[in-house]
């Protein structure tokens, strides 16, 4: 059975009940899935290839719709069919890191990191400029700022993607196999960043095959037959 996580009386940041998702109306990739995540949770989701980990991340990240059940993000109930207005929730509350980086190769590191502000009402003020400087320094991107993304290595690209996910200071960070294309050294850098973020009270969901990432503090789930099981 799926597992419910209880963490005091606090309201969960992500709450999923009875979630079902099918692509072909024959097989349910996610089937009666339950999940509750609270501020400061670092969640690691494992599972065989093709079990629906990316599908789950897309649903939580409002990048895809679902068929049955309920999904609440930071107290806002999401309809089954993702509609245009969710782009605002996406823009305000969620940062994404993908295995394939998903950066715009033709523009510079800085422009990629600042991309989320093109689609928001937030003015790029001094606070944001300071945040940008801090993120860039923390991730060791200082010297790459004006370089075109196409010219970067895999590890550098993933750090840029993380910087972009953090620039709007979102509550939730969704990382779908963020270290899948990285070597040991870069994997360690990326995971350390996530750990720091967790301390800042963010909800972090990481999909990974790399068991070495996890520590005893993390919530570890295994996705199988459309359900999440606590490891």
């Amino acid at each position: 059975m799926s597992t419910l996580c209880v963490n005091g009386n606090e309201q969960p940041v992500i709450e999923i009940k009875g979630l079902r998702k099918t692509y072909d109306r024959k097989r349910y990739v996610l089937d009666n899935l339950e999940l509750k995540l609270y501020s400061g949770d670092m969640t690691i989701i494992e599972g065989k290839s093709g079990t629906g980990k990316s599908t789950l991340m897309n649903v939580i990240g409002l990048l895809d719709d679902f068929n049955e059940g309920t999904l609440c993000i930071d107290g806002i109930e999401i309809n089954k069919k993702t509609k245009r207005k969710y782009s605002i929730i996406r823009a305000q509350k969620i940062g994404f890191v993908f295995q394939a980086y998903h950066l715009i190769e033709a523009i510079s590191v800085k422009e990629n990191i600042m991309l989320p502000f093109l689609y928001s009402n937030i003015n790029v003020n001094n606070d944001i400029k300071q945040r940008y400087d801090k993120i860039v320094t923390d991730l060791g991107l200082g010297e790459l700022e004006n370089k075109k993304v196409a010219l970067l290595s895999g590890g550098e690209k993933q750090r840029v993607a993380i910087a972009r996910a953090l620039i709007k200071d979102p509550k939730i960070i969704i990382a779908d196999e963020p270290t899948g294309n990285l070597d040991m050294e870069n994997t360690k850098i990326v995971i350390d960043v996530f750990r720091k973020l967790r301390e800042m009270g963010k909800v972090i969901i990481i999909v990974t095959h790399d068991i070495s990432i996890a520590t005893s503090d993390d919530k570890r789930f295994y996705l199988k037959e459309g359900k999440l099981m606590l490891c």
């Binding site: 990048l63 993908f98 600042m114 991309l115 989320p116």
Partner: protein
């Protein structure tokens, strides 16, 4: 723009995306450019042709009413004295042409100029006649460039004086001052030597020469003969007979026996609109009463002339428009094709932007801006290149076909191209970008 406060950042980003893939940019612009170039060039040429024809018609002096009348002298006198006597002027055009210039070139070709002698009651109002086409002669404005026009004094004294146009003056007298020179009718008529002496006795009684007192210019009159003459000099095949009108006092015409087979133009000049309206009313009434009695009673005003020209040009204009719109649609679909594949290729970019908070409108706005931007680059290019191409074609038409053709690069043409480019940019990038923006984010990201 919805949800986008950081407009400048956004515009900067759009421009960066436009220039991020130069081959794609060039290809898209080329597609748009070809369509817009054909449109611009075609439009300039079509408008120039139209304007030229219209200009000729518009030479018709404002507030004039011209009546072509074939009636007996009694009736003519009556109509002249009945309706605004002060404003009316009679131009009696001899039907037969008199040769006033003839020259045989060394290659045997003969160039001659025939004149129809126009007897006029006065030329104070500077009206001259122009053959608009085979069937239509219209009164147009002539600018005096030398001497004077025929006046009342000439008419009452039956002076043998003549007013000619610039081209005629240059052909007859070259660089010399034409004032005081004589225009001799029947010069160099082929076969004149063969006329028997008995016949010449009669001819001797009338004076065949008129003294030039004035020269006038009218762009259309001068230009058409000049081009014909140039064509003769350049193309050099066979003989050429040009024709013109020369103006003598009405009474001198009488004296010289040109009366019998003449065609009469009665021209009323009005300086004010209300007089014109009234005159037109009265003349129209006259026409309804008398037109079936006389073989010719044709009334014409500037408006009639303009609408006749418009009617004449309508089929040509329609045909040109059909061709242009067909070309426009073809090249439009071609551009849409390019845009569509460009957007398909950029589905990943769309997915990324949507994951970063962009909504469908943001995506459409971006591609619309790109489309419009490229369309306006193409428009600017086609306005420059189209102007040059049209100018070259116009020159070619003028020098090879000897048709009076002045290329007219009007504000309208520019505006038209800009409007079409805008529509191009919007329509042909909206459809593909609407498709692109409608993809689910998860699906779009899978493309990457």
């Amino acid at each position: 723009m919805l949800g986008i406060k950081n407009n400048i950042m956004f515009i900067r980003h759009v421009l960066m995306m436009v220039f991020s893939n130069v081959p794609r940019l060039i290809l898209s612009i080329c597609g748009l450019f070809v369509g817009l170039l054909v449109l611009t060039t075609g439009n300039i040429l079509m408008n120039s042709y139209y304007d030229e024809a219209m200009n000729r018609a518009c030479e018709f002096s404002t507030n004039n009413i011209s009546v072509l009348l074939e009636a007996d002298d009694e009736f003519e006198k009556k109509i002249i004295s009945d309706i605004d006597t002060m404003q009316v002027e009679l131009k009696r055009v001899s039907m037969s042409s008199e040769s006033i210039y003839s020259e045989q070139y060394s290659n045997g070709n003969i160039c001659s100029l025939n004149a129809k002698v126009v007897g006029t009651t006065s030329m104070d109002s500077e009206n001259v006649l122009m053959k608009y086409n085979e069937n239509t002669t219209i009164p147009v404005h002539g600018n005096l460039t030398k001497g004077r026009f025929i006046n009342q004094n000439d008419v009452s004294k039956k002076n043998n004086c003549v007013v000619i146009d610039e081209f005629t003056a240059s052909l007859l007298f070259g660089e010399e001052d034409p004032i005081g020179k004589k225009v001799i009718l029947g010069v160099g008529n082929i076969g004149m030597e063969n006329v028997s002496d008995e016949d010449n006795v009669v001819d001797d009684e009338k004076d065949n020469s008129f003294t030039v007192v004035g020269v006038f210019d009218n762009y259309q009159v001068t230009k058409s003969n000049q081009l014909e003459y140039e064509k003769f000099r350049v193309v050099d095949n066979g003989n050429i007979v040009m024709s013109t009108y020369i103006y003598v006092p009405y009474t001198a015409l009488d004296e010289n026996g040109f009366q019998e087979d003449a065609q009469d133009y009665l021209i009323w000049h009005y300086s004010d609109n209300s007089g014109y309206e009234k005159g037109l009313q009265v003349l129209n009434d006259y026409k309804t009463v008398y037109s079936h009695k006389y073989s010719k009673f044709e009334l014409m005003t500037k408006d009639d002339m303009k609408s006749a020209v418009k009617k004449e040009l309508r089929p040509i204009k329609l045909f040109m428009w059909l061709i242009l719109s067909a070309l426009l649609i073809i090249s439009g679909i071609n551009s849409m094709n390019t845009m569509f594949f460009s957007i398909k290729e950029r589905i990943g970019e769309i997915g990324i932007k949507k994951a970063m908070g962009a909504n469908a409108t943001d995506i459409i706005v971006q591609f619309l801006m790109e489309g419009i931007f490229m369309a306006y680059i193409a428009a600017a290019m086609s306005l420059i290149v189209g102007g040059i191409v049209a100018e070259l074609i116009g020159k070619g038409i003028q020098s090879m076909l000897f048709i009076n053709f002045k290329v007219n690069y009007s504000m309208e043409t520019v505006l038209f191209t800009l409007i079409v480019a805008g529509i191009y940019g919007i329509v042909f990038s909206f459809i593909p970008s609407y498709y692109g923006a409608g993809r689910k984010v998860a699906d779009a990201l899978r493309f990457e």
